[in-house]
């Protein structure tokens, strides 16, 4: 037998018992100190890091309260210190923003309470709580409010709020999981044992069991129920107390009242030997309700896991090249000195090295070395994608190949992964209207229920006093306001998990609602339906004889350019012997000039090369410049070609050498996606700025009947508005950068393939991996979510309408009430979990 438990250590910060010695420690004043939880450790670390460990030397008593962040203590004011804030707080000037980790969230009413309380504080610009990920985004004016005060206010209404830290998050999740599981176990054992003693009483005829044995069994049931009520049901009592103190009734209040009243009445009956006992109802109720809560918590945890993984993924440090050598070749860089610095300090333009297997901390461009990167965290695809010097890599990808040297193009905070995280959190800013409504209704419902239960009790007291209490308890217990509060959050959490897992980023939760109601889908062409990567499809070389020579010369001229058309020409000439160009001069928007093999050449648009000829080259199937207007500076400077199908001319003075025709291929899954959307009952349209021939060909291939070519951004905006005037609800699919005004005007918007320019995207939803098949999938999930929410709300209303009157009339014994309430909650959560299932054919 192990020895009896020693007197537990006391937490150095707050004085509470340390349940797990050695788990949370911190060195203070050179000595390792034990803490009771990650929260105390976080606060202690913040105190020590800010150089304020004098606090520990001079304090008179430990921090008060079981929660590690006592409001009245200087510890919270630490979060006002600039050093501490630099780690957790973003933004400048009169609007700071931070992400908080919340503890103690139970249901939609908690969310509403915290948001309302914070919004009422002076100086708070906005506060929004994401129930699924248990985080809050808080924006405030530092001149009018201090972060510590706001944290204290949240603590005063009974919720713990700490600046979000991924390790703290992990610790918090582990704590909650363990505690919930233990309570569930105790409740389960209690329930089974008490049922064992209750069954003989149910099945025996009155008088069959001798009184002393029944009395014995009652006492046994009582002893078994005590730990269930004291330990397992504790979250309900704590929640009810919190709700009452905040004067906003939540679903814990009727539960606590019901459990408390039933237990006390049964205890009295046991001691006095008179009356009925309801221990079986109490234990069953606590067990089933805890089970529902556990399931709901699991669903929420899965939803936030995607975001948590992203948060934990970014590396803290990078290996910077201390002094950039003059020649940017691999040998010189490999010999350069490397220093390790925090990732947050790497500035754009600096060089750094990433070894194989390491994660890339910031968005960057490959300078030397070639490798393959794994972008699974961003796009969901784990197949490594090759990258060579000149290619861009997103922050958050893993270097799956060999060591490379990169030049940073953004800070860690603005890199792809961080931006994705922020967009996901910002999705909570727009709450679906129906969720807000359900929360309000739930609060009123509870109040009305309490009044009604009191009335029922009084009514039965005059009719048949012995039944008054059990009936009142049944009324309290059978009602299920939680189904109202759970219906929407559970469904949204499951839907966002399902959607994020497939590589779709939802930046606004109203988007899901709107997409479910869409009638029309309008596609942009270039970059959306097409790959956005032109290929050389035809080379016409009257002046050279061999097309290959023309390609060689063109590729040489475009050697350093990053424009996609330059890439296309280089790709086409890859198999050919390389030529070198000297004296390269790039004219933005028009073309490039240089000398190859002693010949002075120009490569570019008709206007550009026309300057070296007597006039513009013959219009060999050439297109008008109408398309050029439709790309307002969104393209990088290069030869003056526009989006989509285009041409490039190669000339030397006085002579046309060649003409290249480049085309942008359709995505493989475009046809299937358009068909699927049509099958779902949506009208598909095509809007493009490119020339009519190209657009017509694309529309024909995809089976789209309504298409428009040569549209300027203003034309596109008008087209969308015209559709909306007809009463149609429009989903606009574009590349997110060039179509910003149109995307904003549409009811819902989706950006495809904009993963690299995420920060500038104006769309509601973003496809992180360029799979068009995700568009119909998104529409389907959105509709299913809407259906599930409606089903849940309908069920909650129907159940309450039937069950409460039945209980008031005395038809529902307390144990049945317990079963009913818990089953109802479980059903709502389980229905929402259906959203996470992969779609069946025809679903």
């Amino acid at each position: 037998m192990p020895e009896p438990v020693l007197k537990p250590l006391a937490c150095f910060h707050c004085g509470q018992d340390v349940d797990a010695p050695g788990r949370w420690t911190l060195a203070i004043d050179g000595q390792a100190r034990e803490m009771c939880c990650a929260g105390c450790q976080a606060v202690a670390r913040a105190i020590v890091d800010a150089g304020l460990d004098d606090y520990y030397r001079h304090r008179r008593e430990p921090a008060s309260g079981p929660s590690a962040v006592p409001p009245e203590l200087a510890a919270l004011s630490l979060y006002d210190e600039p050093e501490v804030q630099s780690r957790y707080v973003r933004g400048e000037g009169d609007c700071r923003e931070t992400t908080l980790l919340l503890e103690g969230l139970r249901c939609g009413a908690c969310v509403w309470l915290i948001e309302r309380t914070l919004a009422a504080q002076p100086g708070v610009v906005g506060a929004s709580v994401n129930f699924a990920t248990e985080r809050a985004v808080l924006r405030w004016d530092p001149a009018r409010a201090r972060l510590s005060e706001l944290l204290a206010r949240v603590a005063s209404i009974g919720y713990r709020a700490l600046p979000y830290d991924p390790q703290e998050r992990e610790a918090q999740l582990a704590r909650v999981a363990r505690s919930l599981f233990r309570r569930l176990f105790v409740a389960g054992i209690g329930m089974m044992q008490v049922m064992m003693y209750a069954v003989p009483v149910y099945t025996a005829a009155p008088g069959d069991i001798e009184w002393q044995y029944e009395h014995l069994m009652r006492w046994a049931s009582f002893l078994l129920t005590v730990p269930v009520v004291m330990y397992s049901a504790q979250p309900f009592f704590a929640g009810a107390l919190r709700d009452l103190r905040a004067r906003s009734p939540g679903m814990d209040v009727p539960v606590a009242l019901g459990v408390g009243a039933a237990f006390l009445a049964s205890a009295w009956a046991t001691w006095s030997g008179r009356g009925e006992v309801y221990f079986d109802s109490v234990t069953m109720f606590v067990f089933l309700l805890l089970g529902a809560r556990y399931l709901e918590w699991l669903a929420r945890r899965r939803a936030s896991r995607a975001v948590d993984m992203m948060a934990a993924a970014l590396p803290e440090q990078v290996h910077r090249v201390a002094a950039a050598p003059a020649g940017l070749d691999e040998a010189a860089l490999a010999a350069a000195a490397i220093e390790t610095i925090p990732a947050a300090r790497l500035a754009p333009g600096e060089l750094f090295r990433v070894s194989e297997g390491e994660r890339i901390a910031v968005d960057a461009v490959v300078v030397a070395g070639s490798t393959a990167i794994d972008q699974s965290l961003i796009t969901g695809e784990s197949r490594p994608v090759p990258r060579v010097p000149g290619d861009a890599v997103p922050g958050g990808a893993i270097n799956a190949g060999s060591p490379v040297f990169l030049r940073a193009t953004a800070t860690a905070d603005h890199s792809t992964l961080s931006t994705i995280e922020r967009l996901i959190e910002r999705a909570a800013l727009d709450k679906p209207a129906i969720a807000l409504l359900a929360d309000r209704v739930a609060a009123w419902f509870v109040l009305a229920l309490l009044v009604f239960a009191a009335g029922v009790f009084a009514a039965w007291w005059f009719v048949e006093p012995a039944r008054a209490l059990p009936i009142a308890i049944a009324v309290l217990v059978v009602s299920c306001p939680c189904a109202l509060s759970l219906a929407t959050p559970a469904a949204l959490a499951a839907a966002s998990a399902a959607v994020t897992r497939r590589g779709v980023l939802v930046a606004s939760s109203r988007a899901l609602e709107t997409i479910a109601a869409c009638t029309d889908v309008v596609f942009d062409k270039t970059g959306t339906l097409t790959l956005g990567r032109p290929r050389v499809v035809a080379v016409d070389a009257p002046g050279l004889g061999a097309p290959g020579d023309a390609l060689r010369l063109a590729a040489a001229l475009e050697a350093g350019a990053t424009h996609p058309l330059a890439q296309a020409l280089r790709d086409a000439a890859r198999a050919l012997p390389a030529a070198a160009a000297t004296g390269i001069v790039l004219t933005a928007g028009r073309g490039v000039e240089g000398t190859v093999d002693g010949r002075a050449l120009r490569l570019g648009s008709r206007g550009f090369v026309g300057e070296w000829l007597a006039g513009a080259p013959p219009a060999v199937g050439a297109r008008e410049g109408a398309g050029a207007a439709a790309s307002p500076g969104g393209r990088e400077p290069g030869a003056g070609r526009d989006e989509g199908g285009s041409e490039a001319w190669l000339v030397e003075r006085g002579r046309v050498l060649a003409r290249f025709e480049l085309a942008d291929a359709l995505r493989d899954d475009a046809r299937a996606a358009v068909d699927a959307l049509r099958d779902a009952g949506l009208v598909v349209r095509l809007l493009s700025g490119d020339r009519p021939e190209t657009v017509a060909a694309v529309a024909r291939e995809l089976g789209i009947e309504d298409w428009r070519a040569g549209a300027t951004p203003a034309d596109k905006l008008d087209a969308v508005k015209a559709l909306q005037r007809e009463g149609r609800i429009v989903l606009m699919v574009g590349d997110g950068i060039n179509d910003a005004p149109v995307l904003a005007a549409a009811d819902a918007s989706l950006a495809v393939g904009a993963a690299s320019a995420l920060a500038r995207t104006a769309a509601d939803t973003v496809l992180l991996s360029p799979e068009l098949a995700l568009v119909p999938a998104l529409a389907r999930i959105a509709r299913k979510t809407r259906r599930v929410i409606a089903e849940n709300l309908a069920w909650a209303t129907l159940y309450n309408l039937i069950a409460i009157p039945a209980a008031a009339l005395g038809w529902v014994p307390p144990w049945l009430a317990a079963v009913g309430m818990s089953t109802s909650s479980l059903l709502v959560v389980a229905n929402a979990l259906r959203l996470r299932l992969p779609a069946r054919k025809g679903a």
């Binding site: 349940d19 797990a20 582990a174 999981a177 363990r178 599981f181 233990r182 176990f185 105790v186 054992i189 044992q193 001798e210 044995y213 014995l216 069994m217 046994a220 002893l223 078994l224 730990p227």
Partner: protein, 61 residues
């Protein structure tokens, strides 16, 4: 039926022991990961060549 006076308290004692045992197991972290062990039985347990040369420790299997 007088046996009930012995049996019922005895069963309470057994339940108390079971709960105590559960709490001890929970403390040791056994229930923290409910999904991992299901997958790990499918994974290879062979240790690499170098480790096999060394005398095997008394690893509980």
């Amino acid at each position: 039926m007088e046996a009930l006076y012995l049996l019922i308290p005895l069963s309470l004692a057994v339940v108390a022991f079971a709960v105590w045992l559960f709490f001890r197991m929970s403390d040791s972290g056994q229930f923290d990961d409910m999904e991992g062990p299901a997958h790990s039985i499918l994974m290879d347990d062979d240790r690499p060549q170098a480790a096999r040369e060394a005398p095997p420790g008394d690893r509980p299997r």
